[in-house]
Each structure stands twice: as C-alpha cells, then as structure tokens.
C-alpha cells in the first residue's frame, strides 16, 4: 500500500465519496458517512503532520507555483479543516436520523460531500483562481442543500442565495483578472510580493466585496436569513456553521497578504460589523420563527467576527486574526448545534413559531437543553469557546484603546441575551399548555449529534490555549 499525502486525501476522499454516493443512491447514507469519517481520518493525519512540521506544502503535478498550484496546510487551515470535519461528521450522524425522505437522503449526501470537497479545497488552496473555482463548487452544492426540502420559501430563498453567490464569485473573478493584469501570477506569494498599485487596489476591492457578499456581512446579508431559515435542519447547520466560513477564511488570508491600503477601510469594515450586530440583533428580537431567529443570530455573529478583524487597527493584523479565528471556530461548532437542535424541536412540536412554543404539550427537553447550551457559546458566556473568542476580541480592542468596539460587543451580547431569552421563555413556560404534558417521541440519534456539538462548543473553551498555539503553527500570516 503506497502512502498518499494526507493533503491529497483530504480533498479526494470526499470527492470520491460524493461520486460513490451519487452512483449508489440506495447506499448513499452509509457511503457518505464512511467518506466523512475517512476524511476526518485524513485531517487527523494532517494534524499530526502539521504538529510535526509546522506547515505541509504539496505542489500538485510537481509544478512549482506560480505555474502550478500548491496546496498548503498550516495551523490555521488545519484548524478550519478539523472544525469542518468534526462538525460535518456530527451533522452527518444527525442527518442519518433526521432525513427520512428517501429522495432528500439520496441528494443530501452527494451534495454535502461535494460541499466538503469545496471547503477543504478552500482551506488548502494557495491560488486565487483555484479559490474562485472552489467557492463555486461550494456555492452550487450549498444551493442544492438549501432547497433540499423543496418548499416554495426554500426555493425562493435558494434562488436569492444563488444570485448573491454568482455575483460574489464573479466579482472575485474580476479581481483575479486584475491581479493577473498587474502581477502576471495568481499564487499567494505573488500577492505578497506585489507593490501597491491601482490595479491591485481595484482587485482587492472587487475580491473583498465579492467575499463580503458571500459571507453575508451587513448590508450584504440580505440573502442569508431566508436561505438558512428555510433549509432542512442538517442543511441549515452546514450552511450556517460551515459554508459562510469559507469566504470568511479567504477574506482573512487575502487581507493579510494584500493589506487594506487605508486604516479608514479597516474601520469601515468594523462599522459594517457593528451594523450587523445591531441590525441583526433587532431582527432577531422581532423574528417570529425559531430558525429565523437563529439565522439572524448568524448575521450578528458574522458581524462580530468582522469587528474582531477590525479591532486590530494600528496594532496590526498579527494579533487580530486570532480573535477572528477563535470566533469562527466557536461559531461553527455552536451554530450547527443550534440549528440541529432547532430542527429537532420543530420536528417534535410540529412548528417553530416562537410565540406558540409554550402552547405545545410536547417538550423535547434534550433538544431544548442542547439549544440552551449552544446559546451559551453564541452569547459568549464562560467558559465556552465563544467566550474566549469574545475575550480575545475585547482584550485587543481595549489594549488598542478602541472603546467603541468594546461597547458594540457588549451591546451585542446584551441583545443576544434578550432574544435568546424569548426562546427560553417558550421552553420553560407551562401555564398555557393545551393539555397534559405529553411524552415526546423519545431520544434519537439526531439528539446526540447536536448535544455533542454543544458540549464541544462549551468545553473547547477550556482548550483555548492549545487551540491558539495550534493555529499559529506554520506562521499562517508570516513570522512577525
């Protein structure tokens, strides 16, 4: 048995899994689960390699960049891969149980595995054109997942999502064109070496706007709430927990390799983040449906991540990306737990209208508990990973003297308490029930997956120090 580079396996295993799941529709679930497991194994091997070597670079086809394409794994990218694999595996386990419809099942697995291929490709990629192709793989698979349920609302939301996705990708492509125009190459090293110029500024602007559209930063978030709220639960979990992170990750990398030309722009992005936190908070307070509330909370969290990005200001990106990375990881784990739990609650009760949650005589206790645990991390209460991320954010902002970012973060936190307590009230109120408290359908595999994720979101906070030192491996953003 020849040894194959784990970097390659990380990409090819989900791809082969998708192919197998598509041509063998009856066995799709088991083939898919096996592929996700195997991918997890490859990522584990990659973790080992990165721990040993700091970074792992593979030049595909033996052609060195800029002509060829290299894949590079360092601490940050492997952390993202590991988060994706871990969350993906648990969502897959949940999906085994919660997708009952044969047709949904058949299509879920190939699309999800293609999505995984695309995301792994993004985290390993070092070539901006390749990233463009990867985000398109992600976009098509993600849209397919969004409309899995086939309801009118889902299809309508999916179409909006599709438009936003294509437009974002095309803006990115145009940016790639300008990079080539100026530098004649497309790899990250070329970006780092490039002198500032008009074409590079144009390229950066195009790519950043495209990515912000894909990652749904306020006010480009318009497509997100409907898309995430109307998808089936496992798909929502994947979309909200993982998919938006891919564009966010590219944004982090790009803005480090091609620094924003002006500090005002950094502040502007922070202000957009603040806008997301406030506007998303208001909308979450007004949301009538549980999944919609959770989707708006994703908008808020993305805003928070951009504040984390912006708070570095003059201190420089060398530190602020860590806060952003921690928040990205925390949100990925917690939000997927929350969407799965919300899906379970909807399945059991039969609807997800927040105002009527307490009228139901069925109380899916475990799913509600899971939801609350996930909310702890999303609100950012200790000792969850979300808390650690917020701590790092506020610490940096304070050290740099940016009190406004501290204030926005605190307001956002309070608002999140307010909107989540609407949900908790629905869980815990008992005086408006229609009948006697009835037994819910019992525990299911679909309960175990989100519970594990939620517990992970909280207990990973205790492992923040090793996580932080891991994402610094291989100096993702240079040795400074």
């Amino acid at each position: 048995m020849m040894m194959i580079d784990p970097v390659i396996l990380t990409l090819f295993l989900p791809l082969f899994g998708a192919i197998a799941a598509f041509v063998l529709p009856r066995a799709a679930a088991w083939v898919g689960l096996l592929a996700v497991l195997a991918t997890g194994g490859a990522v584990a091997a990659l973790v080992r390699d990165v721990l040993a070597a700091g970074e792992v670079v593979t030049q595909l086809g033996g052609w060195a960049p800029p002509l060829g394409i290299a894949l590079r794994a360092d601490g940050l990218s492997v952390a993202m891969l590991a988060m994706t694999a871990g969350v993906g595996l648990l969502v897959s386990i949940g999906a085994l149980d919660s997708l009952r419809d044969l047709r949904e099942r058949q299509y879920f697995w190939p699309l999800w595995l293609l999505l995984l291929t695309g995301m792994n490709g993004v985290y390993l990629g070092t070539d901006i054109f390749n990233l463009y192709v990867m985000i398109e793989v992600i976009a098509l698979a993600a849209v397919g997942l969004t409309v899995l349920s086939g309801t009118k609302q889902a299809v309508r939301a999916g179409l909006e999502y599709m438009y936003a996705s294509i437009l974002g990708a095309l803006l990115f492509l145009m940016g790639v064109g300008f990079v080539y125009l100026q530098t004649g190459r497309l790899d990250f090293a070329g970006l780092i070496a490039a002198e500032p110029s008009g074409a590079m500024s144009a390229a950066l602007a195009l790519m950043v706007v495209g990515l912000l559209l894909k990652t749904a930063l306020f006010p480009l978030h318009f497509w997100l709430p409907a898309a995430h709220a109307n998808a089936t639960a496992p798909a929502s979990a994947l979309l909200s927990g993982l998919v938006v992170k891919a564009a966010l990750y590219i944004f982090l990398r790009l803005t480090t390799y091609m620094p924003l030309p002006d500090e005002i722009l950094v502040t502007l992005i922070g202000m957009l983040g603040a806008g997301a936190v406030l506007w998303g908070g208001v909308q979450a307070l007004r949301a009538e449906r549980l999944k919609l509330l959770v989707a708006w909370s994703t908008v808020v969290q993305i805003g928070l991540i951009f504040i984390a990005f912006a708070r570095a200001g003059q201190v420089g990106l060398s530190e602020s990306w860590k806060a952003a990375a921690l928040l990205i990881l925390a949100h990925g784990v917690a939000k997927s737990a929350m969407f799965l739990a919300a899906g379970r609650i909807k399945d059991e009760i039969g609807h997800d209208r927040i105002a009527d949650l307490d009228k139901s005589d069925i109380r899916p206790t475990l799913a509600q508990f899971t939801f609350a645990l996930a909310a702890i991390s999303i609100i950012g209460l200790p000792p969850s990973l979300g808390f650690i991320g917020k701590w790092t954010l506020m610490e940096g902002a304070m050290a740099a003297g940016y009190w406004h970012w501290v204030a926005v973060t605190m307001i956002g936190t309070l608002m999140s308490v307010a909107y989540f307590s609407r949900v908790f009230a629905g869980f815990l109120r008992f005086d408006r029930m229609r009948g006697e408290l009835a037994e819910h359908k019992g525990w299911a595999l679909a309960d175990a997956a989100p519970l594990t994720l939620a517990i992970a979101a909280i207990s990973l906070g205790l492992m923040a120090a090793p996580i932080l030192s891991f994402i610094e491996l291989g100096y993702p953003f240079g040795a400074q």
Binding site: M3, I19, L60, G62, L67, G68, N130, V133, G184, A199
Partner: protein, 326 residues
C-alpha cells in the same frame, strides 16, 4: 491595414456593448435572449481577434450555445406554467415589483463609478506585462502535448480543471434535486423539416466534436469544446424526441456524469507514488494519459450538458399529460 483592423475592433467593441445594453433593456424576453446569443458570438469573435481561439470556441459553444439553449428552454417553461405559451412577446413572466427609477439611476451611477475606477486601474496596469509565457514555454516539452492551452488545462493546472468538472457534476446533481418530480412543459412541435435536419446533422456533429477533442492536443480545441459540440447532439436528440430519457437509464446517466471527474481524480491519484505527487504524470505516458482523461471528460461533459438542458431526473411515475397545447 492596422487602421482597418482598429476600425473593425472599435466597431465590434461598440456592437458588443450595444448588444449587452439591448439584451438587458429590450422588453420581450425572447428578443433579449436572441440579442444575448448574438452578443456572445460577437464576444467570441472579439476573442479570436485577441488570438484566443480556444476561448472563443468555448464561449461560442458553451457560453453562448448551451447557455442560450438553457435560457430558451426556461423561457418556454415559464410561458407554459404561466399559461402564456401562445402569446407573441414574452413579457412579465416572473412577478415583479416596479423598481423606482431613482434606485435604478443610483445603481447605475454607482456602477458607473465602479467602471470608471476599474477603467483607470486597467489603464494604469502593465497590460502586456510579465505573465506565465516564459514558464509555460519552458515546461511545454515535459507536458506531453503540443498545444499550450491544453497543457495548462490538463497538466500544469489540472487541479483547477478537475474542480471545474466537479462544478459541472455539482450542477447536474443540484438540478436533478431541484427539479425532481417537476412536470415538464411539452416540447414544442417542431415538424418534419426539423426532424430531417436533426437526422442529417447528427452524425456530422459527432464527427466535429470528436475532431475538436482529438485536435486539442496540438491545436485549439479540446475536451470542453468537443464536449459542448457533442452535447449539441444530445440537445438535438432530446428536442426531436429521437431519444426520450427513461427512468431505467438513470443509473447509466449517473455513471456518465461522474465518469469524467472520477477518471480524472483517479488518474491523478494513481500516478502519485514512487516519488511523484498527485497529477504528476510520468513523462513517457503523459500524452496517453491526457488523451484518456480528455476523452472520458468529454463524454461526461457532453452527457452532463445535455442533462442540464433536459433538467429533471427521469422518474418512474408517468408524467400527467395535463396541459397539452396544440
């Protein structure tokens, strides 16, 4: 001569822009699509002028031909479901809320500013600056093929190309998923002349597609152009009802969809080992391997594009023949 060429360029550029504007502003959607097709063909022509025949072929065949067919099919479907099949101009098929003129102008002004900025950036950039020219020239002998574009697509940046095939696969899975159980608009009755035309041209298209694929290793052409031309065969078959997709063919279709991506990725993996990494074809077999991959990818592309045109997955349940227009 140069002046005449420049004049031609200017005329062509002007027409391209005019057609772009026209296709977005003309009210009849059918006219918009026709204008778009002309726009695409003229763009392809412009790319020939820029010595990019491969791109021009791909744009003409895929970007314009297949896209145009997809758009027309969709238009037909929309007319069918909205009960406007018999009407002349296709207007207002999707629900619209009027956009205030102010918003349009604000957007236009915004985009105008973007254009200005991009144009300035473009003018300031080194247009014929350093590229991959030298690197490609140096690496060509080891690539296994003689045509640089094919070498880039199938060897230097084969990873990109693999993922592009994966995008196509994702699209067809998504389309099957989206349209499952959707009843189709009845195909327009095209008549005897059309049938005869289809039968006459089918073999010729097959020959042309294969030729393009084969020629790709040394001259403009290759898997994508060849695949698109072969997809036209599929379109003809579908439109003329010579072939009607059956549920029993689904399994075969699935295999055909994944053939390209699977073979491409499989070869990429199999060649690695023995000191080589993925996609690193051994020099002595490079030509054969590339041709093999191209051949299989072409089949996949052709079938996939045809399936994208056909849309929904053929299902066992008979489609209710509800609204039959005559």
């Amino acid at each position: 001569m140069t002046d005449a060429a420049i004049l031609f360029d200017l005329l062509l550029a002007g027409s391209v822009i005019a057609l772009a504007i026209a296709s977005l502003t003309v009210r009849d959607m059918f006219a918009a699509i026709v204008l778009f097709v002309i726009f695409g063909l003229l763009s392809a022509l412009a790319w020939v002028r820029l010595s990019a025949p491969d791109v021009a072929l791909a744009e003409a065949a895929i970007g314009t031909g297949v896209t145009g067919a997809l758009l027309l099919k969709t238009l037909h479907h929309l007319r069918y479901v909205t009960g406007k099949l018999g009407e002349g101009p296709a207007r207002g098929l999707t629900p619209t809320a009027p956009v205030p003129a102010g918003v349009i102008w604000a957007n236009a002004a915004f985009c105008g500013m973007i254009t200005l900025g991009l144009a300035l950036a473009f003018l300031g950039a080194p247009r014929s600056g350093p590229g991959f020219d030298a690197l490609v020239a140096e690496a060509m002998p080891a690539s296994g093929v003689d045509h640089p574009v094919t070498a880039v697509l199938l060897n230097f940046r084969a990873y990109d190309t693999l993922m592009e095939v994966v995008v196509l696969l994702a699209a067809v899975i998504a389309v099957w998923q989206i349209e499952r159980g959707l009843s189709d608009a009845p195909a327009p009755a095209l008549g005897e002349v059309w049938q005869g035309f289809a039968r006459l041209t089918l073999p010729a298209i097959v020959v042309v597609g294969t030729y393009l694929l084969w020629k790709g290793s040394e001259a403009p052409g290759g898997a994508f152009q060849g695949g698109a031309v072969l997809a036209a065969v599929g379109l003809l078959l579908l439109l003329s009802r010579i072939y009607v997709p059956q549920p029993a063919h689904r399994g075969l279709a699935r295999w055909a969809f994944v053939l390209g991506a699977g073979a491409f990725a499989g070869v990429a993996l199999l060649v690695s080992g023995g000191g080589r990494v993925a996609f690193e074809y051994p020099a002595e077999h490079a030509y054969a391997l590339i041709l093999l991959i191209e051949g299989l990818v072409t089949i996949s592309i052709a079938v996939t594009l045809a399936a994208l045109f056909h849309g929904r997955e053929p299902v066992a349940a008979p489609v209710p023949e509800g609204r039959n227009d005559t």
